[in-house]
Every structure is written in structure tokens, then in C-alpha cells.
Amino acid sequence: MNALTPQLVNLFASALLLIAFAMLAQRRIVTLINLFAAQGLALVGSTVTVALATGQTHLLYSAGITFALKVLLLPYILHRLIRRLNVKWDIETLINIPTMMLVGIVLVVFAFNLALPISEFSRSIARGTLGIALACVLLSFLMMITRSKAVPQVIGFLSMENGLFFAATSATYGMPMVVELGIALDVLVGMVILGVFLFQIREQFDSLDIHHLEKLKDE
């Protein structure tokens, strides 16, 4: 383990944060999926770096699972999904991106301040990045709140899981293997269920705008 390792982890963490912001401001669904895949790649990079630096071999396995699941499989499923839903070139009308960016900045400041005392307790080499992980989770929350179409909401949910996973590796060198496998399977199953759900929404309302769900009544 040399001096460069924490810096590499910091670099990957910054990439994660940057991609979270890019997702917040992205209008096109196709680009959103590609950004999600890139975020997964940054996550894999940081996990592998921590694993190699500390000799925690189980982190290598979890990096492998992340790579297979979040860089290859889930983006593939999402691409297929939007092709079959015919929303590939959909552009969402986001109002006022600058304001959303400013709210995002406030969230980042909040997350950094919140994480600072907590990360003092950790002895991990990447403990400084806990704030970034928390900020990623909050930004994904913000994305889910501000989006009105269903597919970007699903992507926001998945990217929130990325942030949580990063928090786990940065603060405590990852969770036990059983838990990680369970979460990976959960995300996959969740994705499948949400995919079915999306088709049902479209069947019912002829649109993927979830505002239709607000006035759900017996008619």
C-alpha cells in the first residue's frame, strides 16, 4: 500500500459524485443509462483499488459482481426495456436545471458536514469519501423526486444503491459476502419487477408519466 492508493480512491469517489450530478441534469434517457453504467465502472474501480491495497480478497469478488451486474447486465436490461417501451429518444422536460444544481450543492454541503464526524470513527483508508457516498445517495433521492417519468426514476433508484454500496466499501471495507450477494440478487429481482411494472403502467395510462398515478381512483 503506497501513498497513491487513497488518492486513487478519492479520484474514483469524485468521479462518482460528478456522474451523480450529470445524471441529475441529463434529459435524455439513453445517456442516463450510459451514465449509470459509467457510475458502476467508477464503483468497480474504487472497490478494486481498496481490495488490492488492503488485501481484502472478498472485495474483489464483490467488485466482480458489481461489474457483471451494474456495468453489463442492468444497462443491457434497461436498454432493452426502453427499446421495447419505445421511449429510447424521449426527452424529459426538466424545469430549471440551474436551480436543481444549486439544491444539489446544498445537499452536498449537508452530506459532507454530516459525514465528517462519523468518518472520524472509521479506520478505513477511504474514510474521507464517506461524505461523497452520502452525497451520492442524497442526489439520487433528489433525482427520483424531481423526475416525472418512470424509467429515470428506476435509474435513480439503482444509482442510489450505487451510493450505498460505495458507502459500505469506503467506511467498513464492505459487508459480508452473504449480504452482498443478497443485495445484488435483490437489485436484479427489483429491476425485473420494476420492468414488468413499467409495462403495466403504460398499459393502464398510455404513458410513463407517473403523475397519472396520483389520481388513482375507481371509475
Binding site: 486513487l8 478519492n10 479520484l11 468521479a15 436545471i97 444544481m101 465528517l116 474521507g128
Partner: protein
């Protein structure tokens, strides 16, 4: 102030005066190649300047002294700006006089005068151009300041020469905050130098031009000075970017061999940077003017993120 310092400063000035049109010519050449056109010769900007300097300059009847004075003020600001940015050596006697914040101020002063001059004649194009220039300027300035503050926090000084020497002579560390700042800086310099996503430097289409609308009424030597000032601005921005993000190769004080080596290194860096600029310009489409605030807000956001990441990670 030593003799050597004065010599280095004069050398930097000469380099800026001659290198700036060369850089513009190089960018134009790369752009022409990338767009499958026959490229103009590298020295075309010099020929242009030469032609314009020998032409008569026509001035409108209603022009006030501000209109006559502005090209000189703008040119002076840009020349001074490119002199306080370390290009070859950090041993610059002018550096204590103006720090990074003063650099932003110099650009703002030039912007103020060029806009006043454009409005002075009273044509609608000039007024429109001035308003757009001010819009872009006031959005780009805070983002640029954030970038400079990030670099200043890392090296504990706002003097450009000190920033460069402290960044260039430390052991190799990966600074994510500087990566954020670098992206923000690229966006700001695209906007400030009237480059493609924001403005097209080659256009004379009335509804889209910004920089060209400002200098539309000028002719002869005034126009030559303004064109030269525009290329000096591009040169100053490129050198500031290189100094902040790729500071290796800039000579320290009293280091003669490094000074000899600094020129080819700078030329190579500028050539690569100019090519990348032409590549960005070729690959991206010009945005609507109402998208520009969004673009620059993103740059500001990246600048603020750079500061925050620096404060959190200490890197």
C-alpha cells in the same frame, strides 16, 4: 527587480504578442482539417493584421471618445493579462502587482469597454451584442473565480506565479478537486473566448453572433487591435489553463537551462491544446443563447464542487 526578471518579462510579452496570432492560426488550421476544408496558412492572422493596420479606419459621426479609446484599452488589458500569466518562467516582476483576482478584473475591464463602445454608436446589432456579452460575462466570471480559488487554496496563495511554482514542484499527487476545476475552466474559457458551443467565431449571421456583433462597426487599425486582443485573450486563457493544470516545464527563477527548455514545451502544450479546442468546436453544435446560462451554471457548479471536494478530502 533584477535585470533578469525584466528580461524574462519582456520575453514573455514578445512571446504573447507573436504567439497569440500564431495560436489562432493553428486553431483555424486544425478546424479546417477536421472539417475537410483546405486549411488557411498558419500565418494568416499576421497577414490579416498587416492588411488591417494599413487600411483607413472609418468612424461614425456620432462616435464619442470612448469608441476611439476602447480598442487601445482592450488591447492593453489583454496584453497585461497575458503578461501576468506565467508562460515560460515564474520569475515575473509584474506578478506581485496583479494576482489571480486582478486577472479576472482585467478581463472584466476589457469586457466593459468593448460593450460600451459597441453601444456607443447606437446600432441595434452593437447593443444586442453588448447585452449578450454582458450576460455571458457575468455568468462566467464567478465560475472562473471558483476555479482560481480552488487552485489558490491548494497552494495557499492567489498569486499566479506562486500557484504555478507550488503546483509544479510537488511530488505526484492526484488532486480530484483540480480535475473538477479543469472541466469548469474548459467550459468557462469556451464561453469567454466566443467558441462554438456558446458563440461561433466564424459567423456573421446576425441573430447568433456575439463577439462579431461587438466589433461590427470597427475597421482599419482599430479592428486590427481588437482582433489581436481577441487572440491575446485566447492565448492568455490557454496559458492560464496550462499553468494551473499542466504546470510542468515552466522554469523557476534563475534556472537558465529550464528557461531554454520551457519554450518548446510550451509550444507543444499549446499545439495539443489548440488541436483539442478545434476538436471540441468541430464535435459540438452551437447552443441556443438561452441554454448558455445552464451551461455556465454547470461550470459554476463544478467550480464549487472542486472547492468542496478539496475541503473534504484535503486534496
Amino acid at each position: 527587480m533584477s535585470f533578469e526578471g525584466v528580461a524574462a518579462q519582456l520575453l514573455a510579452m514578445l512571446l504573447a504578442l507573436l504567439g497569440a496570432p500564431l495560436l489562432s492560426g493553428w486553431v483555424n488550421q486544425c478546424r479546417a482539417w477536421l472539417q475537410n476544408r483546405t486549411a488557411p496558412p498558419l500565418l494568416q492572422p499576421f497577414r490579416m493584421l498587416h492588411k488591417l493596420f494599413w487600411k483607413e479606419s472609418v468612424i461614425a459621426h456620432d462616435a464619442t471618445p470612448i469608441y476611439r479609446l476602447s480598442p487601445y484599452i482592450v488591447f492593453g488589458c489583454m496584453l497585461l493579462a497575458s503578461m501576468i500569466v506565467p508562460t515560460l518562467s515564474t520569475n515575473l516582476p509584474l506578478a506581485p502587482a496583479a494576482d489571480a483576482i486582478a486577472l479576472v478584473g482585467l478581463f472584466a475591464l476589457a469586457r466593459l469597454f468593448i460593450s460600451l463602445a459597441a453601444m456607443d454608436i447606437g446600432t441595434s446589432f452593437g447593443t444586442m451584442g453588448a447585452r449578450r456579452e454582458m450576460l455571458i460575462g457575468f455568468l462566467a466570471e464567478p465560475a472562473f473565480l471558483m476555479v482560481l480559488f480552488t487552485a489558490s487554496l491548494i497552494s495557499n496563495s492567489t498569486s499566479l506565479a506562486t500557484i504555478v511554482s507550488s503546483l509544479a514542484h510537488r511530488e505526484l499527487t492526484i488532486l480530484p478537486s483540480l480535475a473538477f476545476a479543469g472541466v469548469a475552466f474548459t467550459m468557462v474559457s469556451l464561453a469567454e473566448n466566443a467558441r462554438v458551443p456558446v458563440d461561433n467565431p466564424a459567423t456573421h449571421l446576425e441573430l447568433t453572433m456575439i463577439h462579431e456583433a461587438l466589433v461590427l462597426e470597427y475597421s482599419g487599425r482599430h479592428l486590427a487591435l481588437l482582433e489581436w486582443a481577441a487572440s491575446l485573450k485566447l492565448f492568455a486563457y490557454s496559458c492560464a489553463g496550462l499553468a494551473l493544470f499542466l504546470p510542468w516545464g515552466i522554469a523557476e527563477a534563475n534556472d537558465h537551462t529550464a528557461l531554454l527548455l520551457a519554450l518548446p514545451v510550451l509550444a507543444a502544450k499549446l499545439a495539443v491544446g489548440g488541436f483539442l479546442l478545434a476538436l471540441i468546436e468541430t464535435l459540438s453544435a452551437k447552443m441556443r443563447i438561452f441554454r448558455v446560462p445552464e451551461f455556465l451554471a454547470t461550470a459554476f457548479l463544478l467550480g464549487v464542487l472542486a472547492l468542496l471536494v478539496h475541503l473534504l478530502l484535503g486534496a
